[in-house]
């Protein structure tokens, strides 16, 4: 394992320390491992809290700031944070208008956020609503299973809900918007290489030279199938087609998001985006907005994911609204 780390068991806290030093505008609670917006709580504003296992940077801590998240909780690498952290974050951002929990659909994340909400309810009057993201079409869905994983749409949801909260909208409205974003978003990912969890020290899965994994999860969960490495043009098709098959975006306006998984440089992501855009055009899908970069990584995994989000004028306005975070910044 080759990584810029010290003790493999102590990566998260040390990275958080660096983030705190690099972003004095944020409040980083190294004890609770939560990143909080510098001016939190913002009186009268709905607070937005997210969190999850570390290893997906800049998600979530890098999206804390005006126009996006009020706080983010970091768990161990790929392990959900605990209720105590979520409680501390919720209390830190409670401006009196309630708090939205943005939760990626993984059993651990969902249950820990649930317990946190129960504990908050027991201890304070803070109103908490949780919205769960589950946009990964690689996992076939069913009410009997844990359902789909929350992936790329989480980034878009945090931005859009954050903009709505910044406008002073009430919790119910912000939550409805968040649910709408999740409902209108779909994602599909692929890996050229496995990630290596520091504590494990070896790649999570074996992916020989010449092979790639289609439908991989952001924790290195195996995907739908393993196929020979193909040109970007064909890879783009392997990502776009299942997304369009799951939800018909034909004739719709979308936000197209090509996300890097950590080990893939920007030059390749732009090239992939060109291929994705070409397929979307042929399929009669109109790209209203785009995002290309590594925003939700899987440690050092090489590969990318595609997320499509159907947008209307309101969602576009909220997407364009000012945001000032380490990971996303514009219009401010």
């Amino acid at each position: 394992m080759k990584k810029l780390i010290n003790d493999p068991a102590d990566v998260v806290a040390q990275a958080l320390r660096g983030m705190a030093l690099a972003h004095p505008e944020l409040r980083v609670d190294l004890e609770n491992r939560i990143v909080v917006r510098g001016d939190a709580p913002v009186a009268g504003k709905v607070g937005i809290v997210s969190g999850g296992g570390a290893g997906h940077e800049p998600l979530h801590g890098g999206f804390v700031g005006p126009g996006m998240l009020d706080a983010a909780c970091a768990g161990e690498v790929f392990t959900s944070p605990v209720p105590d952290q979520m409680m501390a974050a919720t209390q830190a951002v409670d401006g009196g208008a309630g708090v939205l929990h943005v939760v990626k659909n993984y059993t651990g994340d969902v249950m820990n956020f649930e317990m946190a909400a129960e504990l908050v309810a027991a201890e304070s009057g803070t109103e908490v609503v949780a919205v769960v993201t589950d946009d990964d079409v690689a996992v076939e869905d069913s009410t009997y299973t844990a359902g789909r994983r929350g992936v790329g749409v989480t980034v878009l949801l945090e931005k859009i809900a954050g903009a709505a909260a910044e406008q002073g909208r009430p919790l119910a409205e912000v939550a409805d918007l968040a649910r709408k974003v999740n409902a209108q978003g779909r994602s599909m990912g692929m890996a050229l290489t496995s990630c290596t969890v520091p504590a494990a020290g070896t790649p999570t899965f074996e992916l020989p030279e010449g092979e790639m994994e289609i439908g991989v999860g952001i924790h290195g969960e195996p995907g739908r199938r393993r196929v020979p490495v193909a040109p970007a043009r064909e890879i783009a098709a392997m990502l776009v087609e299942p997304v369009l098959a799951d939800r018909d975006y034909t004739g719709r306006q979308v936000l197209a998001f090509v996300n890097g998984l950590g080990g893939t440089p920007l030059i390749e992501l732009y090239l992939m985006y060109a291929e994705v855009a070409a397929i979307l055009e042929r399929s009669g899908v109109t790209v209203a907005r785009s995002l290309v970069g590594s925003y939700m990584t899987s440690l050092d995994m090489a590969g990318c994911s595609l997320t499509l989000l159907e947008v209307d004028d309101e969602l576009v306005r909220l997407w364009d609204a000012p945001v000032r975070t380490p990971g996303l910044r514009w219009g401010v």
Binding site: E76, P83, T107, M111, M115, A146, T204, G220
Partner: protein, 210 residues
């Protein structure tokens, strides 16, 4: 009476569970590597180490206080799926515990714990989770005690049922937890949580019957 599960007995149970989790840590993680994310052993070991540290630091006064402390410690130290699940199990056990449990009371508390796990995780029998070991164990415990057995034999029966349930998870296709993302590919592997649950039952048999 030998069958009274008091604070000392519960403490012994949890220390024994902590010991065997530490011993089985890598085995549990290996099982999780096959169908999950290779951290179940590390997660439980982190949690139980903290539980033992808390027991050493401040020995709780009553069984209820002890079980609550154990549950809260697991909830706040483990994370992932097993943190809330095992945490809830002990938190729910605390309810009936009061300041001492007889055999039937212990069985009732364990069932309350099972119900907590099910309420929290929404897993049904056959979903390839810890419930597949815990649920039959509770049934066996009740049956044995109902049939007049003393706690030791009853726990023996519970462990046997738990092991059966654990082994039965091997062919199953997971419907809950990370393993469910694998769909069919999850069949042929033993569930890590069901495996650690058997360790919990074995620890009870070892600690509560002497």
């Amino acid at each position: 009476m030998a069958d009274l599960v008091d604070t000392a007995a519960l403490t012994a149970w949890l220390r024994e569970f902590a010991r065997s989790v530490a011993a089985q840590k890598d085995a549990l993680t290996a099982l999780d590597a096959a169908i999950g994310d290779a951290d179940h052993g590390a997660n439980l070991d982190r949690g139980m180490t903290a539980v033992v540290a808390a027991l050493d630091a401040a020995p709780p006064a009553s069984p209820a206080a002890l079980l609550k402390q154990v549950g809260m410690t697991l909830v706040s130290k483990v994370g992932g799926a097993s943190g809330p699940l095992y945490g809830t199990l002990f938190l729910r056990m605390a309810g009936p515990a009061g300041d001492g449990l007889d055999a039937a009371g212990f069985a009732a508390a364990l069932r309350a714990g099972l119900e907590g796990v099910v309420a929290r995780g929404k897993a049904e029998l056959g979903d390839k989770t810890m419930v597949d070991a815990l649920s039959p164990a509770c049934d066996a415990l009740d049956a044995a005690l109902g049939g007049g057995a003393a706690l030791p034999e009853a726990l023996q029966a519970a462990v046997a049922a738990g092991r059966e349930g654990r082994d039965a998870t091997v062919p199953l296709v997971a419907r809950k937890g990370r393993a469910s993302y694998l769909g069919e590919r999850s069949a042929g592997h033993q569930d890590p949580g069901a495996t650690s649950t058997v360790l919990l039952l074995e620890a009870a048999e070892a600690a509560l019957t002497t």
